[in-house]
Amino acid sequence: MISLDFAAVLEQWPLLVRGAALTVALTALSAALGTAVGVACAWMRVWGPAAWRWPVVAYVELVRNTPFIVQLFFVFFGLPAAGVKLSPEAAALIAMTVNLGAYAAEIVRAGLEATPRGQIEAARSLALDERQVFLRVVLPPALGRVWPALVGQIIIVMLGSSVCGQIAAAELSYQANLIQSRNFRAFEAFLIGAAIYLGLSLLLRRLLDEIGPRWIFGRRAATGR
């Protein structure tokens, strides 16, 4: 008969809280930085100089067609050989940002390309300079158009960050692993870990659905398609 002992895992709750906190911190930072990278890359692909386009395409395709764990190992184990030494947390943050940046570039590009030409012309005729046209007229509704896809990708990155425990970044899956190595309750520890991830992904979706319309592209842009 199988006997499950969740109490043995739950009494180590401070570890779980600390792990979840690092997962949240890594996700928040990489979401902000990765989206910024994505916007920059999308801008370069749509309006940038022709010479900048193919490096962006190469970056996007390379990242999207290799596993995150290999990218993480490359950053953490590979870069020190090239003279760049990183802490596990820094390596995790860089890998997550690079990863999200590539996906966000494609997502944001789709939003930018759907911008009606008339809006750009109208903005120019109001004597806005190119920077203002992009940041104030083109980008906010473009982000509004692709927000659900971007939110989905940020959640995928958050779930993917569970791999960062493999390089000893003390995030949630690392702590679950630590708990099971102490009390040998592996199934219970990972089940609770998975439940916390599920809760975090639901919370994150709610939060981003709120943040997007309120702070980034405005409610009207979100509803008025």
Binding site: I69, V70, L159, S162, Q166, A186, F187, G193, Y197
Partner: protein, 216 residues
């Protein structure tokens, strides 16, 4: 001390890549069959639909790594002494089934409602409607995202390395431990994944563009 040339590294990685391909195919086929079953269950028995939705939400809302650990340690808890590849195949199959079920549900919903009503008015059964009316139309829409998801499955198999299955990533780690050349080896590992995934991505994009052209 044995010296590893770049060719030795590549050759060993290529040998290990077989297992990545095999595991991907097993998970994709298994996940496809299970996903199709779940989708049909959802369409044919609306009262059971919430269970299918729960399955999808659970597997889409938790990390694949946790699913792998749960399969690995869960099967052991049941008293089954399973090898790592079996646990990995099980977890990846369940993972793929959730995503494919959701992709195909979207494809079925993209078929105009009138098609269901027309099939109903011809007194076709559920099976006949799916086989002759909805299925073929949904299939056309589903092909591109399904091929695109295959890339996710191939990349997902890299996590099987964590529970000790020697596929491409694990082989890379073992070679790093022997050669102390992480930059070159993980670069080669990434390149091999790229060579596996990129053609599939390009094919998916091609199918998507063709479908869009046909619709216009």
């Amino acid at each position: 001390m044995v010296d590893f040339t770049l060719w030795d590294i590549l050759r060993n990685l290529m040998l290990a890549a077989r297992w990545t391909v095999l595991l991907s195919l097993a998970a994709f086929v298994g996940g496809g069959l299970l996903g199709l079953g779940l989708l049909l269950l959802r369409l044919a028995r609306p009262r059971l639909a919430p269970l299918v939705v729960l399955h999808v939400r659970l597997f889409q809302g938790t990390p694949l790594l946790m699913q792998l650990f749960l399969a690995y340690f869960g099967l052991a808890l049941l008293g089954l002494d399973v090898p790592a590849w079996a646990a990995a195949a099980l977890a990846l199959t369940l993972y793929a089934s959730a995503f494919l079920c959701e992709i195909w549900r979207g494809s079925v919903e993209a078929v105009p409602r009138g098609q269901w009503e027309a099939a109903g008015s011809l007194a076709l059964s559920f099976g006949e409607t799916m086989r002759h009316v909805i299925g073929p139309q949904a299939l056309r829409i589903a092909v591109a995202p399904t091929v695109g998801f295959l890339v996710q499955v191939i990349k997902g198999t890299a996590l099987a390395s964590v529970i000790g299955f020697v596929e491409l990533t694990r082989a890379g780690t073992m070679i790093v431990n022997a050669t102390f050349q992480p930059l070159a080896v993980y670069g080669c590992v990434a390149l091999m994944y790229f060579l596996l995934c990129w053609p599939v991505s390009a094919w998916s994009l091609h199918l998507e563009r063709r479908l869009r052209r046909e619709r216009v």
